[in-house]
Symmetry: C2
Subunit: 221 residues, 2 copies
DNA sequence: GTCTATAACGGGATAGAC
DNA sequence: GTCTATCCCGTTATAGAC
C-alpha cells in the first residue's frame, strides 16, 4: 500500500460517516472479500504507524468503513489473529518495495544504496509515518504474542533473502552474502528508526553511502 | 541498570506484597527521594521491555513497590511525564554501556565492534528482554507524544556524539566521523531489533564485523 | 507521603435482531 | 454479513482519610 492510498483511506473513514450508514449499491465491489481486504489493509496501515497496543479494534473498523462485529466475523481470533494477517500483508508490500530498490541497478552496491534512498523518500513523503510495517509491532509484542513474533521473523528473513539473492547474483560468496544481507536489513531498520524519530532522513541517506561501501568491499563484490 | 538488577526488582515486586503493607522501619533508605528513584527505575525497565502503551501505571507502582497514588504524587503530569523522565534515565545508562564498549580498545574499529558485542551479550543474557531503552517507546509514540520524541532524539544524538568523539580521537575527519557515527548507531539499533525479534544474536555479531570494516575503511582511520 | 476507594473512560469481545 | 446494543474488564487519574 502506498502512502497516498493510506492517507485516502484514513480521510475517507473520518469524513465518510454518512457513507457507512447509507445503503450501498449491491452492484458495487463491496462484497465480503472486499470488506475483509479493507479490514486487513486498514489494520496494516495502523500497525505501521502506531503499532499494536495503540491500535484499537474500533479504530480499525472505522478506518475500514466496517463495524467492529464485522472484524470479529472475519477474524474470530480477534485482534491478535487480525494483526498477524495484517503484518504478513504489510510485510509482503514492504518486500516489494525492497525488491524494487534492488532491481534499480545491476550493481549490488548501487542497488543496496537505492533501497535505503527509496525508504528515505517513502518515509519523508509520508511525513515520517510510513516506516517499516513490522518494526514497531514486533518490538512491542516480542516475547508476548508468539504469532506476531513469528510473522515478524518470517518477514525479516524474507527481506534478507531478497538482498542475499541479489548479492549472490553479483558473485559475492554465499556465506558472505548471507551475513552481509542481514547487516543490510539491520542497517535499513536502524536508519529508518533514527530517521523517523528525528524527523530527518539523514540517517537513511548516510546508510545508503555506507552500505554501498560495505558491498563494494565484500569478497568478489 | 543491569539485567540482574531488573530481574531482582521484578521478583521483589511480585513476591513482596507483605513488604508493601507492613510498616517500614524509618531508619531505612525508604525516604521520598528513594521512592521516586525506584519509580523511575521501574518505569525505565518496563519501557525497555514492553514499551509505553503496554506499561500501566499500576504495573509501574507494583514493580516499584509503591502505590499508584504515589506515582501521581511524584509525577503530577502522570504517565507521560514519568515516561519522559524514565527514558532520560534509561538513555543515560545505555550511554554508559556504549561508553564502556568504546573504551575497551584504543582502536576505533575494535572499539565499535566491542559495542555491538557488548549489546549482544547483554541482550542474550537477559533472555532478549533488555534492549535499547529508547527504541520501542520512541517508535510507538513518534508524532503523538512530543516530549518522548524529544527525549528519544536527545538520547540518540548523545550516543552518536560518544561514537563520533571516539572516531575523531583516532584521527578520522570530523565530517566523516559524524556521518559514520550516525551509521554506527543505526546499525546497533537495527541489529538489536533483528536479534531481539529473532531471539538470536547473530545480527549483532555480524554488525560487529561489518562496523569494524567500515571504520577501518574510513578516511584517516 | 502513602493508603483506600472510586470516578470516568475506553478497550476487547459477544449476543441477537435483521 | 452487517448492525445495534451491551458486558466486563483494565486503564488513567483524582479525592479524601490517615
Amino acid at each position: 500500500m502506498r502512502a497516498s492510498e493510506v492517507r485516502e483511506a484514513g480521510a475517507t473513514a473520518e469524513a465518510g460517516e454518512a457513507g457507512r450508514t447509507a445503503p450501498r449499491r449491491s452492484g458495487g465491489r463491496s462484497d465480503a472479500a472486499d470488506t475483509r481486504c479493507r479490514i486487513i489493509e486498514a489494520t496494516a496501515a495502523l500497525l505501521q504507524r502506531q503499532g499494536y497496543e495503540s491500535t484499537s479494534v474500533k479504530a480499525i473498523a472505522g478506518a475500514a468503513n466496517a463495524s467492529p462485529s464485522s472484524v470479529y466475523h472475519f477474524f474470530p481470533g480477534g485482534k491478535q489473529e487480525l494483526a498477524i494477517e495484517a503484518m504478513r500483508h504489510g510485510a509482503a508490500e514492504f518486500g516489494e518495495l525492497i525488491a524494487e530498490g534492488l532491481a534499480s541497478s545491476p550493481d549490488p552496491a548501487e542497488a543496496t544504496a537505492a533501497c535505503a534512498l527509496l525508504l528515505a523518500d517513502t518515509l519523508r513523503e509520508s511525513d515520517w509515518t510510513d516506516g517499516c510495517p513490522v518494526a514497531v509491532t514486533a518490538l512491542e509484542t516480542v516475547g508476548r504474542v508468539p504469532g506476531l513474533q513469528e510473522a515478524a521473523t518470517e518477514a525479516l528473513t524474507h527481506w534478507r533473502g531478497l538482498v542475499a539473492a541479489k548479492l549472490r547474483e553479483s558473485g559475492i560468496e554465499p556465506a558472505a552474502a548471507r551475513s552481509l544481507a542481514g547487516t543490510v536489513i539491520s542497517m535499513l531498520e536502524g536508519a529508518e528508526l533514527l530517521s523517523r524519530v528525528g524527523g530527518d532522513d539523514t540517517p537513511l541517506r548516510d546508510a545508503a553511502v555506507h552500505l554501498a561501501q560495505l558491498v563494494r568491499a565484500s569478497p568478489r563484490g
